[in-house]
């Protein structure tokens, strides 16, 4: 394929520049995880790795989180975060695929009204409705449960909108063809629509997994039991709240460790990002 033609290097130059600007803070985190805490806190941190890498990660992995976040070992924090993120992402994608499918491929009374009902949930952040939402979860007896933690976060306006946008681009011919074949709507959904949506599902999976992974406020309020504590709460607990010293070195090391599962998800989802999926010959 002839790329941009005139200049093969231009895309690489722009991408590398982009990576430098956008990944700089991540680089700093990595570098920070190899220095000692005072060096970081004073702002004296050089841009090159320091000598404390093994020590910091050892602390973070073995004694670190286990000790610091008393009684909540790092493995448990990571497991809780992983379960929460997976439940949220899978739930979101499933119910959004179904609702977008209904909105785009059917005609029924109240169609747009119901779509808007889902859509406006974007416009009232959880902080604003925290107290009433907590009351609902409490009335349902779901405080301190996994269901209470995840289900309220599963409704997704963004995912529904994204799939709607994508489904609208699916050529009518495909629908016609499947109707001529006598396939029902669900058959069409499974065998035509889902495979076509792969790149979008992959992108959404990555984004929503990270969304779930980074949830802080809701898990904090709705689960007070240490058994359900997540890695992000573990991190926040280590940041000094104004009056105490922060173990920046360890914090950075744990931030890097907390970054690994999302990165793993990105790498796993890579194979769905294959160009030309719509092409039959590919």
């Amino acid at each position: 394929m002839t790329t941009i033609g005139q200049n093969r290097w231009l895309p690489h130059v722009i991408l590398i520049l982009g990576v430098i600007v956008f990944v700089f803070p991540i680089y700093l985190t990595l570098i920070g995880s190899t220095h000692s805490a005072p060096v970081i806190a004073r702002g004296d941190m050089p841009l090159t790795p320091g000598p404390h890498i093994i020590e910091n990660y050892e602390l973070a992995l073995f004694s670190g989180v286990g000790d610091r976040v008393r009684g909540t070992p790092a493995t448990l924090l990571l497991r809780n975060s992983l379960f929460m993120a997976l439940a949220i992402v899978i739930g979101k994608i499933l119910i959004s695929l179904l609702s977008a499918f209904a909105v785009v491929f059917f005609e029924f009374p109240l169609r747009m009204f119901l779509f808007w009902m889902i859509f406006i949930t974007l416009m009232l952040p959880v902080e604003v409705r925290m107290i009433p939402t907590y009351a609902v979860v409490s009335n349902l007896g779901m405080v301190n449960t996994f269901a209470g933690l995840t289900i309220p976060l599963i409704a997704s306006a963004t995912a529904t909108l994204l799939f709607r946008q994508f489904f609208l681009t699916v050529p009518d011919e495909l629908v016609d063809a499947s109707q001529i074949d006598g396939a029902g709507p669900m058959r069409f959904f499974w065998s035509v629509l889902l495979p076509l949506s792969r790149t979008n599902i992959a992108a959404l999976f990555v984004i929503m997994f990270i969304y779930g992974w980074n949830q802080y406020l809701w898990p904090l309020i709705v689960t007070t039991s240490r058994e359900r504590e997540t890695i992000v709460i573990g991190i926040v607990k280590m940041i000094g709240s104004g009056e105490s010293a922060t173990d920046w070195n360890m914090l950075m090391a744990i931030a890097v460790l907390a970054l690994l599962p999302p990165v793993l998800i990105i790498v796993l989802m890579q194979r769905w990002f294959v160009k030309g999926l719509v092409e039959p010959e590919k």
Partner: protein
């Protein structure tokens, strides 16, 4: 937007929508309804005393000149964040779509910023831009720029715009890339064979095909800039210096979360929500007409 071909089914679409709607009604509409009800009350935080006051909370909010000042800041802030979050992301996605070697590497690297825990990201930006201890802050001062966002309102606004946009670039990049990669290759190749220059190819072929994604991102980014950025503002400037970075949502967050003024903050959320819904309806009615499906 309507499709030409649809499926028949009376019950099925409702069944498909049911799970999403059930969760939305129970965990969103019911609590949101309570918030609307609260906006008509003056109440103590613990809910032991309350007085029905009709629209007094709204009147208090709207008659405050500082609220209008915050609206002006919000306008500048939101336009800038949306622009700076989307334009670089589109450029990077176009580039990543073109390279053959190393594209998965770039993709992974460019999504990382989104994955870092927000609490850590805010601290990092302070480390980077702090006038005396930050790498970039010190650099700017060494270059003779009087960099001090703690007392320079313009710089403070610029900084929170930059950080808020930065957080969202990964998100936009990934969806632009997904959009680009689902464009059938044959179409782009046909345009190339016709001898279209890269710029023409982008303007006439790729961008129109990408417009559903762009529209999706436009809506999502505007909403993001309104509702999801108060964390950044709280961490970096706390609305200051003066009121230079106090957006409507930050005001709301502070009134509701720190000052525990439930009635006033609920009134503000109802106002803000109505404004954004209106804005979104306008986008769907007028901008979506230009979207090419």
């Amino acid at each position: 937007m309507r499709r030409r071909t649809i499926f028949r089914g009376k019950l099925l679409p409702y069944l498909l929508l049911a799970p999403q709607l059930a969760i939305t009604v129970v965990f969103f509409f019911y609590p949101a309804g309570q918030a609307v009800w609260q906006s008509l009350l003056i109440e103590d935080p613990f809910g032991l005393y309350s007085e029905f006051v009709w629209f007094e909370n709204y009147q208090i909010v709207l008659s405050n000149p500082l609220y209008l000042e915050a609206a002006r800041v919000t306008l500048i802030f939101s336009v800038a964040v949306t622009l700076f979050a989307m334009a670089p992301a589109l450029l990077l996605a176009l580039m990543a779509d073109q390279v053959i070697r190393g594209s998965s590497g770039y993709r992974t690297l460019l999504v990382w910023p989104y994955a870092i825990a927000p609490a850590v990201a805010a601290v990092l930006w302070l480390f980077i831009f702090h006038p005396s201890i930050g790498q970039v802050g010190q650099g700017l001062r060494a270059l003779g720029v009087p960099w001090d966002y703690r007392l320079d309102g313009g710089q403070a606004l610029g900084l929170v715009i930059f950080v808020s946009a930065w957080k969202q670039v990964s998100y936009n990049f990934l969806f632009f890339l997904a959009g680009l990669q689902s464009i059938p290759k044959t179409i782009v190749e046909a345009a190339t064979v016709d001898g279209a220059t890269p710029t023409r190819r982008f303007v006439q072929v790729i961008f129109p095909l990408l417009s559903p994604t762009t529209f999706f991102l436009l809506v999502v980014n505007i909403i993001y800039s309104f509702f999801d950025t108060f964390g950044v503002i709280h961490a970096i400037t706390q609305g200051g210096p003066g009121r230079a970075t106090t957006t409507l949502m930050y005001r709301l967050y502070r009134d509701g979360w720190i000052n525990l003024d439930l009635g006033g903050s609920s009134a503000q959320s109802v106002l803000l929500m109505s404004a954004v819904i209106l804005l979104t309806v306008i986008q769907f009615r007028f901008i979506e007409r230009r979207v090419h499906y």
